[in-house]
């Protein structure tokens, strides 16, 4: 039996030690989740509004530079500015994970950010994926899934990532004039990944109809997300047996709202949550309770989280999930006592050396998931010889670079693992030839790498 506080920290947070004042019983955890977003207040992030001027600047500079070599220095400067902005976004994300007393919220944000994975296709748009997290995901983690889905689908990061701006209704004025046509990418992933799931009862025609329904929706650098009627496929579309008439954003919104509460969506996404947080073969009672909460409330994510935390299976050991590289690095930094203020001062080089490059070597390059389906869940995907070697290397080298003096490994085992540090582990770290190796063994141990 593992005590509740340890489960709360490891399974629903970023590990031990528990942040000061962190709640450990379900009701208190949900109450905190329902409250204000204190981490966003204490470590403010960059929204799309703040980032658009820079995106426009880079776009304009690029146009000039392509015409005229004299414009290249300005373009390169604009690109460097985007890199700095992205570094700021990443430091903020890390600071919140390290400093927030509401680790559960940060974990949920990370979950939904992965569910709605976007990556920047070009360097000048590199700030968009984390903007989507800030604008569309964070505000809704304790809200309604329908609101999150709409905000995400309409966000520039998603429209660019899945080629929506290039999709044109074949019979729309723009389509007929230029012979352009549909791009099914967003329509497909919306059904297959974001809502219903690939096993649900829909077909290629639904995908095509969804893609047609979405035509007109696009991103414009000057205006942001817009609806461009000339590209919209005329006429109603039918998706999953429902007709959506009206060539405007309203029709798109209605379709998204229906997808958000579809029973297949409820099943698909509650299962995904249960697998991610609790374990790869979720207790059927837990899964059913979460699914019921979704369908009963029309996709209220707070109710779904309450159903998850309220079920006894969520508090049973053992802790079987492999920590993804990000989770390991955050948990490691927390256990070592590295705080948010420290990481906010990391230069780009330091961030890359201590966090960015190690994460890539562990298999999780930041904001570069290989596809729209995001990072894998299976622990066998993460714990391969190569990737484990990267974890071990980080564990053996990063603490020394971060801290003036390394902690006593046995004390660190107590602080970072508590009851999860078994006899064999304590003996082993105490026998290491020096503190560096002892700390490294602890952070590379299975106990520290599972949650």
């Amino acid at each position: 039996m593992i005590d509740r506080a340890t489960i709360a920290a490891m399974r629903f947070g970023y590990g031990l030690p528990l942040p000061e004042g962190a709640p450990v019983d379900p009701a208190a955890m949900i109450e905190r989740l329902a409250g204000p977003d204190l981490a966003a207040r204490d470590w403010p992030g960059l929204t799309l509004d703040a980032l658009m001027p820079g995106l426009r600047e880079a776009e304009a500079a690029r146009v000039v530079a392509r015409r005229d070599a004299a414009g290249r220095p300005a373009y390169r400067a604009a690109l460097r500015a985007r890199v700095r902005e992205q570094l700021g976004q990443r430091r903020t994300t890390l600071a919140r994970a390290l400093g927030s007393p509401d680790g559960f919220r940060e974990r949920l944000v990370a979950f939904w950010a992965d569910h709605f994975t976007t990556t920047a296709r070009v360097g000048r748009q590199r700030t968009l994926p984390l903007a989507l997290v800030e604008d569309a995901i964070r505000p809704q983690v304790a809200g309604r899934f329908a609101a999150m889905l709409e905000a995400v689908t309409l966000h520039p990061a998603m429209l660019l990532y899945l080629d929506q701006s290039r999709s044109v209704g074949p019979n729309s004025p723009a389509g007929l004039r230029r012979g352009r046509g549909l791009n099914e990418n967003l329509g497909r992933e919306l059904l297959e990944l974001h809502t219903l799931g690939v096993d649900a009862d829909y077909g290629q025609e639904d995908v095509r109809q969804m893609a047609e329904l979405l035509t007109g929706l696009r991103f414009d650098t000057d205006e942001g997300t817009v609806f461009f009627p000339a590209a919209a496929e005329p006429g109603p579309e039918t998706v999953l047996g429902r007709a959506y008439a009206g060539d405007d954003l309203g029709a798109i919104r209605r379709a998204l709202a229906d997808l958000a509460v579809h029973p297949a969506t409820a099943r698909h996404l509650t299962r995904k949550l249960a697998v991610h947080f609790v374990g790869d073969a979720p207790d059927p009672g837990l899964a059913a309770a979460m699914e019921r909460a979704w369908t009963d409330t029309g996709g209220d994510l707070r109710a779904v989280c309450a159903a998850m935390l309220g079920h006894p299976a969520a508090w049973d050991g053992p802790l079987t999930k492999a920590r993804q590289p990000w989770d390991l690095v955050v948990a490691g930094l927390r256990a070592l006592g590295v705080g948010p203020d420290r990481v906010l001062r990391f230069s780009g080089g330091a961030f890359n050396r201590l966090v960015g490059k190690p994460l890539a070597e562990m298999g999780q390059p930041l904001q570069e998931a290989p596809g729209p389906d995001g990072w894998p869940e299976a622990d066998a995907a993460w714990i391969t010889p190569e990737r484990l070697a990267a974890r071990i290397t980080w564990a053996m080298t990063a603490p020394d670079r971060l801290l003036e003096a390394l902690p006593d490994p046995v004390a660190l085992a107590e602080a970072g693992l508590g009851p999860l540090a078994g006899e064999a582990l304590r003996v082993a770290v105490s026998r290491a030839e020096d503190r560096r190796v002892g700390v490294g063994l602890l952070l590379a141990s299975p106990a520290f790498n599972r949650r």
Partner: protein, 398 residues
């Protein structure tokens, strides 16, 4: 060796690393007696590679109408009256002329209609029919083949490349490897790491392999031209190919590569460039590095499904059905197009949009395994590719 012994050794520091069985350097001279002298290289093209781009059917009267921009490939290398080779694969023209390259232009797995990468890849690598359910055969077909050979040693097979490959996944202990693995641990640190990983098989086995692989001599290093993204990506292919070729020339008999970047939903003409260059490079580099062993080598490149016949609104293509299988190597009866070409006329398309597959891609792999290694048909149609009907001998292998 049990756990208590580990701890005693760790605490007394009395054990030398050399005495400990888990730290023995891996033997690279494998058991060629079990598989003979034939080598098989599987290349999975991830992302649904467009067969009609790799091997444009320039002689098909409907091709240009379906692809107003993408069918324009002026430098394509004609192979026969119907098909040509994409210009970025021009290095393969010699292989075609020498009878070491063949294509089956209209193949697929039985997977239909959802056209999901994630399902499609798994099914390709699990080698089962879509309706059998993925739960039934989660490990890959290559691995199931290897499991059927008694006494075959784990060192014989390697999965190469950074992306996790399901093809060699499974109970058979194949190795996942990428040239840059390094691990700097003292002998005592290694012993302690093994001690703390002992009770978690996933970590224990990964740690042991990491330590063994880290001890292998470094792969060939290739100097990279400064600042050249393409050269860097091709140099990566060279390193992987060289390492695999060296092992294949020695004890290894099977290798599996993964090449991604094929999901060209938009601007396909540009987007497919680097994937094609890497694919061309991989085959040519293997041939160069294998030397005389090339004569005993078969390379099979396959993908989860093909792409739409018509180009889409973004000068790209979407997920389709029929795709191409590429066979290369000295062991291949090449210089020909394999299987029936269904044609691109409206009435000949699958679902009105895709290339109709005229054979099962798994059958080609199964026949290759039968011809190279002598497996029984019943094994191939039963355990390795459940539900497959291999059909007639296509004569792919010399």
């Amino acid at each position: 060796m049990d756990r208590r012994h580990f701890l005693r050794c760790a605490s007394t520091l009395a054990c030398s690393a050399a005495a400990h069985p888990f730290l023995t350097t891996v033997t690279l001279a494998g058991d060629a007696a079990a598989l003979g002298e034939n080598r098989l290289v599987a290349v999975i093209l991830r992302g649904a590679a467009d067969g009609l781009a790799i091997l444009p059917p320039v002689g098909d009267p409907s091709f240009a109408a379906h692809r107003p921009t993408l069918a324009q490939v002026p430098d394509a290398i004609p192979l026969d009256g119907m098909f040509a080779l994409h210009p970025l694969l021009r290095g393969w023209a010699d292989l075609w002329a020498a009878g070491e390259l063949a294509f089956a232009p209209a193949v697929s797995t039985p997977y239909r209609d959802k056209r999901s990468h994630f399902d499609g890849q798994d099914i390709l690598e699990a080698g089962t029919a879509g309706d059998a359910g993925l739960g039934q055969a989660r490990d890959g077909w290559l691995n199931r083949m290897l499991q059927s050979i008694p006494g075959l040693r784990g060192e014989t097979a390697y999965a190469v490349g950074r992306e996790a490959l399901a093809v060699l996944d499974g109970p058979f202990p194949a190795r996942q490897w990428s040239p840059d693995l390094s691990l700097d641990l003292s002998p005592q640190a290694r012993l302690l790491l093994q001690a703390i990983s002992h009770d978690d098989p996933l970590f224990r086995d990964a740690a042991l392999e990491a330590m063994e692989l880290a001890d292998l001599p470094a792969g060939a290093t290739v100097p990279l031209p400064e600042g050249e993204r393409v050269a860097r990506r091709l140099a990566e292919v060279d390193r992987l190919a060289d390492f695999a070729a060296d092992r294949l020339a020695a004890g290894t008999r099977i290798a599996a590569f993964s090449l991604s970047g094929w999901d060209t939903h938009r601007a396909q003409a540009g987007g497919i460039g680097l994937p094609l260059m890497r694919l061309e490079r991989l085959v040519l580099r293997l041939r160069e590095r294998l030397g005389p062993v090339w004569a005993r080598t078969t390379v099979l490149a396959m993908t989860e499904f093909g792409r739409t016949v018509r180009e889409n609104g973004s000068r790209g293509t979407d997920h389709g059905t029929g795709g191409a299988l590429i066979a290369a190597g000295g062991a291949v009866r090449g210089g020909r197009i394999l299987g029936r070409w269904p044609g691109l006329a409206e009435g000949d398309l699958y679902d009105g949009r895709d290339l109709l597959p005229t054979s099962d891609v798994r059958a080609w792999a199964a026949w290759a395994m039968r011809d190279l290694y002598g497996f029984d048909r019943s094994l191939l149609e039963g355990a390795v590719f459940p539900g497959l009907d291999m059909g007639d001998q296509p004569g792919l292998i010399l």
